[in-house]
């Protein structure tokens, strides 16, 4: 054992430089470069996107409750070295200059905000140095209040029983309300002034928030410690906020994982090819050592020593390249991402070593076993070929290692198992298609020139190897195409979100009688048909389940809601269960419910809901559940009534419109003409969302490019290593007097046909796979992307045939004697 270790150590350098180990080392370097590049970059981009997104919460974690949360959580968090802050928000009338305005008061602690920036200026536009809350007795107000109340520096402003001094203008703050009900302008006060205002009484609607910040681990640990969180507290984490941003984050993370996953799978495939080649070439070596008295342990120990040394070196080299690649990309990205990039973590280093150990031992250990058991008699029989029947076990071991490793790495059982499942099915399908195509080729053989004929003959002749190559090349190509398609789909769907038509103004509180005039104004100014949605203030009182059972009421049920009614279902809504009401149903008394809310309340179709609105109580039957495309930014209502119910209730109207940002005449004019209508400018909030999604798109783009480069390099590497056999053959052909051009032609033909066959199978498989991923993992609609598939096909076929012919070109142009002597 020890002797074997020594021997492995001594021979390492010569074995590495002599080529056998080098091929395997090369595929490991490539795999590590790719995976560490992807995870270094992905890691940093993910945390950067997260940081930007956490601005929406002004924290990494927020507890939200309708009643005072007390100090217990803040105290606990502080002992666990988390950052903490507290806010209390409510609506209140503010009075200044004998005028008043309903405002959203936010009382904060000086540590607010934990994420994002608070920008305060004085009335001359000079930025003021400040903490997270004004001093006691002072206020900061949004520009809208300044405008509407005609405020000046140090004016007095009353909230409840107290009078304050307006110290500054609130230019920017993080946790804006993105929802369409972000009606009222914000005022920030010191949290210790709440008592003197005396506006909070039992029954007032107040939102209490505890904000926390810290590393992901610390946050998770903190949450675990206080599990279970009482039901009345809503826990918000940035990756779980469930709306558009949460989903953007979620999808980009999934894409990073997918890119990493594919890179690893492709690397695994190429490591398997390299390991096989390594084993093939080592068979002579080990058999000979056996003849000269080496034991099985000696051989295994020496090989394992060499492999471990190789892993250490190759992984370090790969990490170096990966880091380099990532730094170059970050350099490019830095100007585009306007956020400060967090520094890279050490995680990728661990991942890299785990990856190479799994790849090498997954791919090589079956061969190590075979090598250890190599019969010395092979030497006398000149038999240095592994039998193909050994391969099945080898693939099974490799696959198993891969699955376990991927599960460890990604902790996403659904993603990993569905992709591995799909891969196995696809590999089998590819195998069948490949065999069929190779079989069909055998009929074409005689029809073409001699060089071509030889090439085709070779493919048919090496049937099983050819099929294997088609599967391998095909799978690699397919992964790249799938990645390209998914990336395109994802980015397109985000572009839609960011489209120029996204409404940036909400108008609400529009009364019946104003409707025609307002519509005329907006239609004319904006040159489009404005749509108005009724808004009914109501309250869900109780639920009577269809199955009889108890009437439900209480905390979850009894809530104020904004209701509306629709005749027809809007475009961005989709019925997922039940059916939409029809005109002819005489007395429809129905309600349509947001599917998320329905699930959280445990409602089912046919339940009866009791509402109160406009001074009356009424009952509605649940007729369907709806899903809303969040990306649309359109108002979403949890409860939508049928026209029969809604039409006659007291209601106002709301609308959302897109006003070109360079034309503030429209909004100004509107406010002047219709002073009673409330307008909400969403531009700031939209901008926030836009920049986050923009960064996510960029990140996805770059990760994709990285994976693409890695994939193409790996593909080329496996083409090169499959050229071994051909080298010997072409030398023999040469000796037999075949002209170089003919040998070249035959090799070119062989690789071109292999490329074409792999290309076709890849396009076929990519279509299926992308369809599956888009619909099941990314929630996108899938339509085959002809451009991506076509380009992938062309580039794939070209790179396989060019790399293939290049790989054996050297052999063709060196003297056959040299090749034969070496063999």
């Amino acid at each position: 054992m020890l002797k074997g270790f020594n021997h492995g150590l001594r021979k390492f350098w010569s074995d590495l430089t002599s080529g056998d180990l080098l091929i395997l080392a090369f595929s490991i370097v490539l795999a590590v470069t790719a995976i560490s590049g992807v995870s270094f970059l992905g890691d940093r981009l993910k945390s950067s996107i997260k940081q930007q997104a956490s601005v929406v919460l002004a924290a990494d974690l927020s507890f939200r409750s309708a009643s005072d949360l007390g100090a217990q959580y803040l105290e606990l968090a502080a002992t666990q070295s988390l950052g903490v802050a507290e806010t209390v928000s409510f609506l209140s009338m503010v009075i200044a200059n004998e005028d008043n305005l309903l405002s959203s008061i936010k009382a904060t602690t000086p540590s607010y905000p934990l994420r994002g920036k608070l920008v305060i200026t004085d009335f001359n536009g000079q930025v003021i140095e400040h903490a997270g809350s004004p001093k006691r007795g002072y206020l900061w107000v949004e520009p809208k209040l300044v405008e509407q109340l005609g405020l000046e520096q140090n004016n007095e402003m009353a909230i409840g029983k107290a009078t304050f001094i307006v110290e500054g203008i609130l230019q920017d703050f993080p946790d804006r309300n993105v929802g369409f009900l972000a009606f009222s302008p914000t005022v920030i006060a010191n949290i210790n002034d709440l008592d003197v205002m005396g506006v909070i009484q039992t029954g007032s609607r107040v939102v209490y928030r505890n904000l926390f910040s810290g590393s992901e681990n610390n946050i998770d640990e903190f949450l675990e410690n206080i599990e279970p969180v009482p039901a009345e507290i809503r826990v918000q984490k940035i990756d779980g906020i469930g709306d558009q941003l949460g989903r953007t984050l979620d999808r980009s993370t999934r894409f990073f994982n997918l890119a990493g996953l594919f890179t690893i799978i492709i690397a695994a495939i190429s490591s398997m090819i390299a390991a096989r080649r390594y084993a093939d070439r080592h068979l002579l070596n080990t058999s000979l050592m056996k003849v000269f008295g080496a034991s099985k342990n000696f051989i295994v120990a020496s090989q394992v020593t060499q492999l471990i040394l190789m892993i250490l070196i190759a992984t370090s080299v790969g990490l170096f390249f990966g880091y380099l690649l990532q730094s170059i990309l970050i350099g490019v990205l830095k100007d585009l991402l306007d956020a400060e990039l967090p520094s890279a973590s050490f995680k990728p280093i661990g991942i890299a070593f785990l990856t190479s150990f799994c790849l090498v031992f997954g791919a090589a250990s079956p061969y190590l076993k075979l090598l250890g058991e190599a019969e010395p008699i092979r030497i006398l029989r000149n038999d240095f070929q592994f039998k193909l029947k050994n391969n099945l076990a080898i693939y099974a071991v490799a696959l198993f290692t891969l699955v376990v490793f991927l599960l460890l790495l990604f902790e996403d059982i659904f993603l990993v198992s569905s992709i591995m499942g799909a891969m196995i099915i696809l590999a089998s399908v590819l195998y069948v298609i490949g065999s069929l195509m190779v079989y069909l080729l055998s009929f074409f053989q005689s029809s073409s020139g001699i060089g071509w004929k030889l090439g085709l003959k070779n493919i048919v002749h090496r049937r099983s190897e050819s099929v294997l190559q088609i599967v391998v090349f095909g799978l690699s190509l397919m992964f790249l195409m799938v990645l390209a398609e998914t990336r395109t789909g994802l980015i397109d769907s985000w572009k839609e979100t960011l489209s120029e038509d996204t409404p940036n103004y909400f108008f609400f509180n529009i009364q019946d009688y104003e409707l025609p005039e307002i519509k005329a104004y907006l239609d004319q100014e904006l040159d489009s048909a404005t749509v108005f949605t009724p808004l009914i203030r109501g309250r869900l009182l109780s639920v009577q389940p269809k199955e009889g059972g108890l009437m439900k009421s209480g905390e979850m049920i009894d809530r104020e809601s904004n209701l509306t009614w629709y005749d027809a279902i809007p475009d961005n809504n989709q019925v997922v269960e039940g059916s939409w009401w029809t005109d002819d149903a005489g007395s429809q008394m129905e309600v349509s419910i947001d599917s998320g809310i329905a699930a959280s309340m445990g409602l089912s179709i046919g339940d009866q809901l009791n509402f109160a609105a406009g001074g009356t109580n009424f009952t509605a039957i649940v007729s369907n559940f709806r899903e809303v495309t969040w990306e649309s930014f359109a108002p979403n209502f949890f409860f939508v009534l049928s026209p029969e119910l809604g039409r006659d209730l007291p209601q106002s109207f709301i609308t959302s419109v897109k006003i070109p940002t360079d034309n503030n005449q429209v909004s100004k004019g509107f406010v002047e003409r219709f002073p009673t209508v409330t307008s909400v400018d969403l531009n700031a909030a939209l901008q926030q969302v836009r920049s986050i999604i923009g960064s996510a798109s960029l990140a996805v783009q770059y990760i994709f490019i990285l994976a693409l480069i890695a994939g193409i390099l790996t593909l080329i590497a496996s083409v090169f290593s499959s050229a071994d056999q051909r080298k010997k053959e072409s030398a023999i052909l040469h000796t037999l007097g075949a002209k170089r051009s003919k040998i070249f032609q035959s090799a070119a033909a062989e690789f071109l046909v292999l490329g074409l066959l792999s290309g076709f199978t890849a396009v076929f498989a990519a279509t299926l796979f992308s369809g599956f991923l888009s619909t099941q993992v990314f929630d996108l609609n899938y339509k085959p992307n002809i451009f991506v598939l076509g380009l992938g096909f062309t580039v794939g076929v070209l790179s396989i045939s060019i790399a293939g012919t290049l790989a054996i070109r050297k052999t063709i142009y060196t003297s056959p004697v040299v090749t034969l002597r070496n063999s």
């Binding site: 010569s14 000979l288 003849v291 019969e375 030497i379 006398l380």
Partner: protein
């Protein structure tokens, strides 16, 4: 009568082939004394290589037993047999089997490294000098002629001072003059180190120089 170094008793080898069980060699009995030079001749396919492999413990017979250097190797496991080979047995093959990526010196050092002996490099250089290749120490196999390769292989076989050396058609891939040089080298090894030689060959000139000759036909020993 000298001490017997190799006793072959009732050796039969059968293999499974697509056409059913095939008997490659049948009921072979041999006794070889220490320091003997024995040749085994016979047409191609008569089972010479198979017999050699079994005698050297590279393969096991279906029936019969082998006593090599006092050990009943047919009852030993693979690793034990390896051990005996590493210590006392040398091999020379028709197609040389030098490792292409190792220099002549490294090739010769291989058995020493496996057995872990000291001063491997000096011993290997000595062995190369004895086969007349002291100037080729750093050459790689593809820089050597066939005859030279075989001399490196003989150096490699002798470097452990084996008591017995098996050669399977050592001149089969060589021209006449190289053949002669290689045969002479083998005999001189026998002379100088008293190594027992067992040579499987087609080469009747070589066979004639041996003190014992056995002939194999269709798996049976006919003399």
């Amino acid at each position: 009568m000298k001490n017997s170094i190799l006793e072959v008793k009732n050796i039969t080898k059968e293999v499974n082939s697509p056409e059913g069980v095939l008997t490659i060699i049948k009921n072979i009995n041999l006794s070889i004394g220490s320091g003997d030079v024995v040749s085994i001749v016979g047409p191609s396919g008569s089972g010479k290589t198979t017999l050699l492999a079994i005698m050297a413990g590279l393969d096991l017979p279906t029936k019969g037993s082998i006593n090599l250097l006092g050990s009943k190797i047919t009852t030993l496991n693979e690793d034990k047999r390896s051990q005996i080979r590493g210590k006392d047995v040398g091999f020379v093959f028709q197609s040389f089997h030098l490792l292409p990526r190792l220099s002549a010196l490294d090739n010769v050092m291989l058995p020493l490294e496996i057995s872990g002996s000291e001063h491997a490099q000096e011993k290997a250089k000595d062995a190369l000098a004895r086969v007349g290749l002291e100037k080729r120490v750093q050459h790689f196999p593809n820089q050597l002629s066939g005859g030279e390769k075989q001399r490196v292989a003989i150096a490699r076989a002798m470097v452990n001072n084996p008591k017995i050396l098996f050669a399977d058609e050592p001149t089969g891939n060589l021209d006449k003059s190289s053949s002669k040089a290689v045969s002479e080298l083998l005999f001189s090894v026998n002379q100088s180190m008293d190594t027992t030689l067992i040579i499987v060959t087609h080469d009747l000139i070589l066979a004639d120089q041996c003190n014992t000759l056995h002939e194999l036909a269709e798996g049976e020993l006919i003399c």
